[in-house]
């Protein structure tokens, strides 16, 4: 190797190792400076998030000075298991409904003139930027016994007496779908917008029916957006707190409510921490699985 290098690189270059050394030293100094620049941001996140997460994990296996898995045993038996199952069930329903509602919206937005697309996206983004609390409140008003939805139902003769729409699982699902729908539409749109119209045209010119062209060409090409949207909505569902707490009527207890109650009411850090750790592991597992398929950065940058 050395002899061939000598043949190409002039002798004096090889006898001057200080050049690369200086460059490396400069690079190292540069990296250290960049680390200092990052330090304030890191300090905030480490002190307020990383340290407490580590402490929560530690706390979840500690009891009276010894180690215990009692907190985890409780999760896999009895009421906590029901809570986790209910949370996963609701998250799956909400994710499924948002995908069903979000796909046509994104599809239309990606296939119309830019002006019209901007209007559709604007109507998706406006609720997106409205406070979650405000939107939950709006649904409480709309769905209550004397609310507008019940009035319409009564007037149309579909029902004889007001239906219970709020303060139950149904109301929770409706409000959560509304709040999370933009998180589905935006990644779907950004994936579909990159699919050239010529793709579907090529399929059609080769004799594919519109349905066939959609299923075999467009749908697979939009899968990146589907994965991003589903991941984002499902993960947000798993940890959702405000809407289930206000809309659920205290009957359907989600994981987030168990965590909050154990801390606020029972002051039971052991139970809260083990539930948190399991929830956190679920979330990270989902993010990890998604990151094998699509770049994670894009998913997080959606908002």
């Amino acid at each position: 190797m050395m002899t061939t290098a000598r043949g190409i690189v002039p002798e004096y270059e090889l006898t001057r190792p200080s050049v690369t050394d200086a460059a490396r030293r400069y690079q190292r100094r540069e990296d250290r400076a960049m680390l200092y620049l990052m330090a304030p941001a890191l300090a905030v996140v480490v002190v307020l998030l990383v340290v407490p997460l580590a402490w929560l994990s530690w706390q979840s296996i500690r009891q009276d000075g010894g180690f215990t898995f009692a907190n985890y045993r409780r999760i896999f038996s009895g009421t906590y298991l029901d809570t986790f199952l209910l949370t996963f069930k609701l998250s799956a329903i909400v994710t499924g409904v948002t995908l069903l509602l979000g796909y046509p919206v994104a599809y239309l937005a990606a296939s119309v003139r830019p002006k019209l697309a901007a209007l559709i996206l604007g109507m998706v983004i406006l609720p997106f930027w409205t406070s979650v609390l405000v939107r939950t409140y709006a649904w409480l008003v709309l769905l209550q016994r004397t609310g507008i939805v019940n009035k319409v139902l009564l007037a149309s003769g579909l029902v004889d007496q007001p239906v219970r729409l709020a303060y139950n699982e149904f109301g929770t699902i409706i409000a959560m779908v509304h709040i999370l729908l933009p998180f589905m539409v935006l990644p779907l749109y950004s994936a579909m917008q990159k699919i050239p119209a010529s793709m579907s045209q090529a399929a059609a010119s080769l004799g594919a029916s519109p349905v066939h062209a959609f299923l075999r060409v467009f749908l697979p090409l939009s899968m990146g957006g589907v994965v991003a949207g589903v991941t984002l909505v499902f993960v947000l569902c798993l940890g959702f707190y405000i809407t289930p707490e206000l809309m659920g009527g205290g009957k359907s207890i989600m994981v987030s409510m168990v965590v909050s109650r154990n801390v606020e009411i029972y002051n039971s850090w052991g139970a809260a921490s083990s539930v948190s750790v399991v929830l956190l592991l679920c979330v990270f597992a989902i993010f990890y699985a998604a990151s094998r398929v699509i770049p994670l950065d894009k998913t997080l940058g959606a908002k």
């Binding site: 990296d31 340290v51 406070s131 993960v235």
Partner: protein
């Protein structure tokens, strides 16, 4: 390809319905806030400003609004420069560790908010910092940082770093070359990052439920606690004002982005 008109019509009709589903709850709050009755009937029987009067006449609501605005402003003032510095470091760092540390800065977006809240509450209770304004500002700063890092980071990636190098080779120090050469050109992403921090702090409820209280209760915390008991129309008035404020801020972002779009078009 000739689209099937029936399928197209069905698609358009369903999208219109879905968009109505998205928009109605956001809009409905506005007429309700001007209603003169306690019962949330629609359309309101008569218009009045009574719920706005109820908000502005109640010192508790006003104190909560002041807390929220103060915390949001200060969190924005801290998170923006700190986040820009971090985004700059991530862009210029070469070591693999720097990229890994970026993931740490993204954690506030990834960890479910309820767990963030419990964690922050734990730290503050150790240091007797619960129910303080400072604690609230710090928590909002942490939650806002990822937005600045994402927004500014994306802009820096497409920025031509040779410009800053040129300024430095002409004798400017690093800070000055950043402030006079780079910053003006990434201005719009800094503004949108800052606006996101502000809106996030304005809207933040779950962490505030745990760590804000007493005289330092936030607006959203008070709204949440009130809603747990009853559907108070005062909240419709507050919601309308909050939405109006958020929309104004989002418009600022859109306008600053549009300005950039024009500038870029001119360069190309």
């Amino acid at each position: 390809m000739k689209p099937n008109p029936l399928a197209r019509g069905l698609l358009v009709a369903s999208v219109v319905l879905i968009l109505a589903f998205l928009m109605i709850p956001v809009i409905i709050v506005v007429p309700l806030s001007f209603s003169d009755t306690r019962f949330m009937t629609f359309p309101p029987p008569a218009l009045s400003l009574r719920w706005y009067a109820a908000f502005f006449g109640n010192p508790d609501w006003l104190a909560a609004a002041r807390t929220t605005l103060t915390a949001s402003f200060l969190a924005t003032a801290i998170a923006t420069p700190v986040g820009v510095a971090a985004a700059y470091a991530i862009e210029h760092g070469t070591h693999a560790w720097i990229r890994r540390l970026r993931t740490v800065l993204m954690l506030p977006l990834m960890v479910p908010i309820i767990i963030v809240a419990v964690g922050v509450f734990f730290v503050y209770s150790k240091f007797d910092y619960v129910n303080t304004l400072g604690g609230l500002i710090l928590a909002d700063t942490m939650l806002g940082l990822p937005y600045v890092v994402i927004s500014v980071g994306a802009d820096l990636r497409s920025f031509d770093h040779a410009q800053e190098m040129a300024a430095r080779s002409l004798g400017m120090n690093r800070l000055r070359s950043f402030l006079t050469v780079t910053l003006p050109q990434i201005r719009s992403s800094v503004i949108s990052g800052a606006v996101f921090v502000f809106i996030q702090a304005l809207d933040e409820t779950v962490v505030a439920l745990f760590v804000s209280g007493g005289p330092n209760q936030t607006l959203t915390r008070r709204m949440f606690v009130t809603l747990r008991d009853e559907i108070d129309p005062t909240i419709a008035a507050i919601s309308t004002m909050l939405t109006a404020l958020t929309l104004t801020l989002v418009l600022i972002v859109v306008i600053s982005r549009r300005g950039r779009g024009i500038a870029e078009g001119a360069r190309v």
